[in-house]
Symmetry: D2
Subunit: 365 residues, 4 copies
């Protein structure tokens, strides 16, 4: 199955950078951040991506993601990548992170990046090689647009589709077998394929390792991929962010949390920020229930709780840790870290500003 590339929102291109602005939302329809964008010297046409945490369950029937996507569709220019991650369990605070392209002539921010989209993923390719390849291509295009090398990349955000009951039935009626028939499980399969696509594009795994990894073989993972699946789209939206070699006021660092208790990884990033006398703008992290049923040898119950999906448990716990340590609950913590960091852990990236004030960029309250 061929998955052709759809041209996305583009990236910083040569000579420009990205700025990151973060604003709280009152509900999923709240697009008042667009007005605050203007107050910060940008306008909606500058948007490369809108990355949000919305207050649904983050699972199959999370319509808060769709509602936010629909609301921003009226504001953002065509081609803008929208990555709405559902689930603000515990202390997490709903917000949007606006990623804007700097204007020509602006002092470069220090961050560069690119956005792209794949074509629609046929439902039977979700969680399979076709999705892996499509994401890998889209990541490569976004990197090329932004003139980014692998070493510069700190974060690859992907939003990808899932399978509803209707999708499963449609596959079967067309003589195709979906990768899985459980709709919640399809989210994990889609995240896994997308993450392997990122890993492939970044050289974190080899092409001949993919098929085995897709069926749960030898673990392959990306240390910068952050994948979220949802019913609000049929293709994959990709945002790659990295450090401008020329430096600037905005900087990034990333690490990998080995497990959901990995305070040391969080601390290591804050140490970098503090050493640079910086101020945290945004944190992006992935969380998951350790699939062995244990964390550091202790039994957890996230996989036997039939009242509450494990992704909700994991998001609440890991966000509780990071938000507390950083002192900011308006962070991007997403659940389900298949092939994103080691099993039970996940990548974590921080954007921070140094020097002059970051000007409203993290006024998410």
């Amino acid at each position: 199955v061929t998955v052709t590339q759809k041209r996305g929102g583009g990236g910083t291109g040569a000579g420009n950078g990205l700025r990151i602005l973060k604003f709280g939302t009152t509900d999923p329809t709240d697009v008042s951040a667009s007005a605050r964008l203007v107050a910060n010297g940008y306008n909606p046409e500058d948007l490369v991506a809108v990355v949000g945490k919305t207050e649904g369950n983050g699972c199959v029937n999370d319509f808060s993601r769709t509602l936010a996507s629909v609301a921003w569709r009226d504001i953002a220019p065509a081609g803008t990548v929208t990555i709405m991650s559902g689930g603000t369990e515990g202390v997490l605070s709903p917000h949007v992170t606006l990623v804007v392209r700097q204007r020509d002539g602006e002092e470069r921010s220090g961050l560069v990046g690119g956005a792209s989209e794949t074509a629609d993923i046929p439902k039977w390719e979700i969680g399979r090689r076709g999705q892996v390849n499509a994401v890998a291509q889209a990541v490569s295009i976004a990197m090329r647009d932004a003139d980014l090398t692998v070493a510069q990349v700190h974060l690859v955000l992907v939003k990808c589709p899932l399978l509803t009951s209707e999708d499963v039935a449609a596959c079967i009626s067309q003589g195709e077998q979906p990768v899985v028939t459980d709709t919640y499980e399809s989210m994990a399969k889609s995240r896994a394929a997308s993450a392997l696509g990122v890993a492939l594009a970044l050289g974190e795994c080899a092409s001949n390792e993919i098929d085995d990894a897709l069926i749960g073989g030898a673990p392959q993972w990306s240390s910068v991929a952050s994948i979220s699946s949802g019913a609000e789209l049929d293709n994959c939206h990709i945002l790659v962010i990295g450090a401008d070699e020329a430096g600037g006021q905005l900087r990034m660092a990333h690490a990998v949390m080995a497990d959901a208790l990995d305070y040391a990884a969080v601390r290591s990033l804050l140490d970098i920020v503090e050493k640079d006398r910086g101020e945290v703008v945004q944190v992006f992290a992935k969380a998951e229930a350790d699939p062995t049923g244990r964390v550091r040898g202790y039994r957890h119950t996230m996989l036997t709780d039939s009242d509450l999906q494990s992704t909700r448990h994991a998001r609440a716990a890991v966000a509780g840790l990071i938000a507390g340590v950083v002192g900011d609950p308006a962070i991007y913590v997403s659940g389900g870290a298949e092939n994103q960091g080691p099993a039970g852990g996940g990548p974590i990236a921080v954007v921070y500003s140094v020097g002059a004030s970051s000007g409203g960029s993290h006024a998410a309250r």
Copy 2:
């Protein structure tokens, strides 16, 4: 309504101390910790209290608490206080903390304490002054048994009843109005009354401030109370723990988390432990969703999530923070901190050991 005092399990009395041993459980019926108690030189007759985290929802229909209580009833001597707190959301690991009375002649541990029980609380007194007074009396008795002054007390754990639909109907049929008819809300009312009972016994509030506090007036709170409500009992079980003035290998410290993000409070306790070159044995903390709908000015969604009770959200988040920072998920974090610490926050206490190894006391894995 008079609530008479029922004689509880007693305390350390003069000349003895308490030891704290912590063991993981495989499920709520798992009482293998009693065998491990023996391996540590104690036996079930030495039990003053069994304090557990069980893996239910921690709400009205959490039968994991009852199941654990029933299982320990066959093991522990009559009068042993059982405080089973449901809810091991996120990284929390189910376990039991066994509190044993040291034998005559043992070197004193450094901790002293007492356990007591109230008589059954009439259902219409739940959440009302009758419960406040009963708990206050029981706390005083436990303190007296252990020869503890207010200044020595670091933690008062209470397990108290709630109202089921049957209880509500029974009240009404008897011509009494229950404090509230919503069963989940009755848990909060019962915790509030118990906490005010602790505050009263410890002089943290005055008797004439109680009535107003019960109806949501001027906030009165205890900085050492940790209250859990449940359907598994009809009276209140109380455990008071404090520091032996003579010192010893086990020590305690406590603080108050101002909100669910209060990493600094956690850090302050660990600083004390580290200064003493100690090792954490157990942490006891309370968590709740800030009733204003905001934490540090940021909107949270714990009070508008009709799929998941706010106590579950809060437990997951605060436990995620503490467990990560301490590096131990087998800690006691309980949800619903009404009148326990300031609104949105809650007390946190740590037991730690210094000097020689603490033996098997925290082998909760």
Copy 3:
């Protein structure tokens, strides 16, 4: 507090009737029913109301309602009443019921009705007398527009607002006490006030009985009110439907279910339909957990299940009964029947067609 009346979508007026068309939806954004409306000889300008069952939890954080409302806002003319009821538990099938005004010259359908809206309800009036009065006025206006007498009315659908955490905080900051601070409970209070408004307009209770009923005094209820609350609006939307005295192809009947097991009430309506050799077009029913904790003397657990709100339980059960007996799962069953029918029960209304085929009017599959 004065609540002024906002002009609604109007009604059938003199000389025209209403038609009811029902179509299944693939998700909350699905407005393909508007195209099927055209295929049935109407167009969006003819819409008086869009009444939907959407697939959220039907509680505070049900964004499926908002998403559907937003989607129809682009299709339906200004003033169209939208009543989106969340929650399709069990066999319930998501669908929209389109209520259209017949064109001049069409043979009158047999149904008449009117739609209206109140002004925005101040948050502190939700669940209070101000809301009751506003709804009562709006019902009267809708009836007058449709030239309906009380005896002709079979159904009054109302959509009304609720209190979010933000609303509660806003009330308090403005020195006003909200009727309740629990957001889920605010839905019940809003439904109760709206139902009493309907009862008042229809003469089912007297004005001087309202205040007592609002605080849980002597039960007052409407036998035709069907109220749903939600976060997607700030005012109340009202739709009144009744029988045209001139008769026609469409007919209605209504009854009151005494409890959630009241098969006899369902049967009585079907008997009427069968006697007329009619075909059921749509059923509208309300469901709730009996507040005593018992149904026909048997204990139920809907009020002690902290994992699942009682409105979800009740909707699933009552819809299971009606859908099975009628043989159609695309029916309108809404949860929370405060002051709508007796405690534990609720009104049920059926629209049916006689004579010639009803066209595409119930092609909800």
Copy 4:
């Protein structure tokens, strides 16, 4: 893998019958039914089986089942089969159905039956052929004990184990692959294998069709199997009930619901009861969400609701229908009907009494 047969509680043997007594419970620990047994002329020694509906979620972490099993373990004689089915959604009322062996010399009731147990099922055999065979053998033994032919059998109740996270990890550490790693899904796999065991024992499918059926091939199902899985046991408990050829006061009839809306099937059984001028004693039914995502062509949302497991949805809806039509909410409706009736449907059986009063046998209120 050999699964040896463990001797169960036995059956009616030659010359005796079974009686069915039903009593409501106040909570899972309520064994007051044993006293009511005595009041009805039996005592706990006469128990063949205790079949209960308990008020948990009916899923992996339903400890209400375990709590009830533990409570009855102290009352019932060794070998008594306990089948506790969790989940009393909607109108379902928690209760126990006590199945007692008639005394020598009593007039035979009209029902005969047998109970048996398998040996513990190795965790890696759950959902696989080993479990199928073990259940098939146990069913045959129970039938032989009761001298029952296939044609006489109306109901085969089975309680079987599931996989917890610990079980999954234990399998893997022993080099065995569990049938599935998702704990909730393991319940379905275990039910499927047990149902196929029943079908095999009753000749409803052939041995060489089993392997294909286990992997989702051609559908094979039993029309009398009712299977419930749970964490409270490691082996399978079986109860077979059928009609005594000699007739008697108690009678049975069974049918198959083609889908969750199959009112006609319920009606057909009641028609039999009414024709015999009988009185319903108990109904046993299975419910499931149609795996195609549609019921009678209408979309349902039970498989895309990540907040609520589909078994809970299905139980609420089907129980709502049956309880309403029968007028009794203390019925046994269990969720998850894999290989029990056709996809989306399930078997339904009724026990009824004719002639003299059934003497307290359905006083479940």
